[in-house]
Symmetry: C2
Amino acid sequence: MTSGRFGAAAAVMALLAGGTAMAADNANNADSTATVREQVRAWRKTHEKQIVGELAGLLALPNVAAANIQDIHKNAEHLTGMLRQRGFETRILTAGEGSRPAVFGELTVPGATRTVVFYAHFDGQPVDPKGWASDPWKAVVRTGPLGTPGTREVDLATHEGPLDSEWRIFARSASDDKSPIVALLAAVDGLRAAGIQPSVNLKVFLEGEEEDGSPHLTDILKAHAGLLAADAWVLCDGPTHQTGRMLLYFGARGVVSLNLTVYGPLRPLHDGHYGNWAPNPAVLLTHLLAGLRDPEGKVLVPGFYDDMRPLGETEKRAAAAMPAIEDDLRQELGLARSEADGRLQDRVMLPALNLRGFRAGGVEGSAPLAVPTDAWAGIDFRLVPNQTPDKVKQRIEDHLRREGWHIVAEPPDRETRLAHPKIVRVTWTQGYPPARTDMDTPASRAVTAVVEQATGGPVVLVPSLGGSLPMYMFNDTLQVPIVGVPMVNYDNNQHGNDENLRLQNLWDGIEVYAALIARLGEEWPSPP
Amino acid sequence: MTSGRFGAAAAVMALLAGGTAMAADNANNADSTATVREQVRAWRKTHEKQIVGELAGLLALPNVAAANIQDIHKNAEHLTGMLRQRGFETRILTAGEGSRPAVFGELTVPGATRTVVFYAHFDGQPVDPKGWASDPWKAVVRTGPLGTPGTREVDLATHEGPLDSEWRIFARSASDDKSPIVALLAAVDGLRAAGIQPSVNLKVFLEGEEEDGSPHLTDILKAHAGLLAADAWVLCDGPTHQTGRMLLYFGARGVVSLNLTVYGPLRPLHDGHYGNWAPNPAVLLTHLLAGLRDPEGKVLVPGFYDDMRPLGETEKRAAAAMPAIEDDLRQELGLARSEADGRLQDRVMLPALNLRGFRAGGVEGSAPLAVPTDAWAGIDFRLVPNQTPDKVKQRIEDHLRREGWHIVAEPPDRETRLAHPKIVRVTWTQGYPPARTDMDTPASRAVTAVVEQATGGPVVLVPSLGGSLPMYMFNDTLQVPIVGVPMVNYDNNQHGNDENLRLQNLWDGIEVYAALIARLGEEWPSPP
């Protein structure tokens, strides 16, 4: 998951009003899932050191995609071996120059009519070893989070008895995303040991360059469309809710970023001698920016909201059902109020314009008493269905032109400057669109039902993450339902130093993934 | 002069319409001044190496006030010696703890009824010797500006014949302000050699800490008010017009600077997950700033212009008479237009709000996709009579409060943040007020007339510099007319590396100061 902690962006969700999962006529399904859970749990309890050992072995392999493609190949070979041990057919998938290997595995189940692909990535963010308490490429078990009094290291080799479920495994990718892979394979092991037949044909797709921006993902999905054909995808990436509850996400906002530079005089000018005469680019930019967005978050660019698809009733109910975490958040963040006084979950399902920074004329304390030569601002747009980066770019640039701005792509030369009184350099990131799987499709309902059955209670249902994931690559390319079923603790230091996984989250992940494998085909039978 | 190059802030000024200086009945005065000029010029031509040598000796003394008070004492002793050679009575003046010495000198003239004080400062800006082409404390003569092809060093010790008036002397304070001191004393020498009696009692006040902000100037002026009593002051600080013409300035804008910091969440927040919910301090600041000033320079704060004293007819005529330099400036600076399409000189006689910089969320290319924790902006106000820093501060803060801002002086604690939705930290520099001497007083008219007679043509008359000088310290404390009569070339690299003086400017300065000494008492006789 390339986005940071998304904790509070989701919120605890009660059962959907009139929901399908626990309806009386589905009591048998719930019982069946509970049985799967108990049997897999029993197996896990006798294999904890083995499971953690397998994870530690995987974590020992450096996996920074941007650093070394050979590292990624070694990880891919190792994963291939882990899959083959379980009887998976495997292949290494690539597409195009520079593509790092993805690992594909398939476990065909006689009689199964549904096929589900589980997605995770096995590459990790770069590390700064100096910032880590221990070697990022050597898994260390500790009794709790670092910084908590009394936390100590545990030597599993000499430890006797069950492992405390609050213990944590520290290493790069301990949570993001190697542990979901190990959980999935442990789920297969547990089901097999219990004699429980999978209900679906099982495919895994393990990406090797997600933390480098998934530059070849779409190409790989397209090049191997037949191999990857399925009825649904389950994304294992991301953390659970900060309340500790399991969560499901059905979408993510798209994103596109904008850099604006406004130009003033070719050299800084003494603001006493020229300050009322030479146009001030910082002033021009404040007016440009103030005209884009009001203080309450409303985007003032005509047409910006026109492409927005209204929320469905289920999505509205899911958002409304979330408990009020806003007071705690405001307290934590020192905020007297929030924009438009809205609920967090409602706000992040709207398209947004965030001013992420601006700069002109030097830094505090040393900005000279001058008219600056230019002024820069950075803006991120977060998009919802059916917005696209291209449409947003067009609407913003149209607006700027209507406001009298001459748009350039490169810093203007003197001739251009002399020809146009208001010049703005506009550069965009490529960006990507939003994605949202309908929460009311049979697949979405079935995944929700099985996960609720497996956890024994309501899970947090997130119609869309506020943050951005390239879910569109799956949605747009595959045209099948995609649901995120993450398992790792929200406080895992993802992307940072001392990344870690809480053991209970690993155990929960095994049970949930086992339930999905064993029960999804029954909850969601193929039409005859 | 603590402000930078003010070149274009002034502009060439034709004779005032119906001006007094060249009126027919003043032809005798003009002839008298021309005679003084010719006689002093003749003397100078035979003493050029001696004059430059005296300047070089003074330039050999390091003079950074902020660096070493002993250096300033050595300069003061040296200057005292130079004055005593010419028969001046001298005193060292200080006032209060840490006050660096000012040098006072007086040459009483029998029968003179007017007393004029010439002001210059002998301290200089700090130097970075690595940036200089030669030792800043060793005067070097070169044939022209550095960077001009063919410029070479001249060894005066071996040079025969007259000095080329385009040659330049390079050293710290060569122009700012040691050469006006030497010019003034050369003027005294030249007049004496020609047998011309001064028309005024002559006092000099040489400050030793101007480049350090004149921290004791007001105190010194007050403590020695009797000694410094005079009918007018002539300020020798500053450069002439960039056209090469002599200029006179009668005022300068005041200045006060403001720092604004607006606060958001206590830590940066992922803008996908929180971006539409957590108030964005950068956005709030853009709206605050856009509400202070429009793109054309108009300050939108109610009452801001109420204290502005309208320009007098003479001031308007002086400004209107300036030649159009704006087209050249726009070409040089790459500007398609100027604010409000106004004349430069008109614009800098208005009070101004300059946004000198802002900053939030990191720097270009690396601003994280986050809601920033705070946003800063720096603003300078340039003031005209009768604005004061205190009045401006009050009006701005009243405006902010009306706009719903809670003003704090220090970064707010969590309790304050939770209590107020819009918090802005406001810090001000002390600032100082504007000053403007009436161009229509007899003293102003007489100085103008003599300088025009001495230069033989129209001079640039600047009702007020756009930049700021602490002229108010003289105006408010002394309550006598103050006129700036600078002599050094505008392209002197004042405050920078390779500061220099063009020899012709030194020669012109000698003639103009000689004319003022010899003729001002006659042009401006004391009432009987």
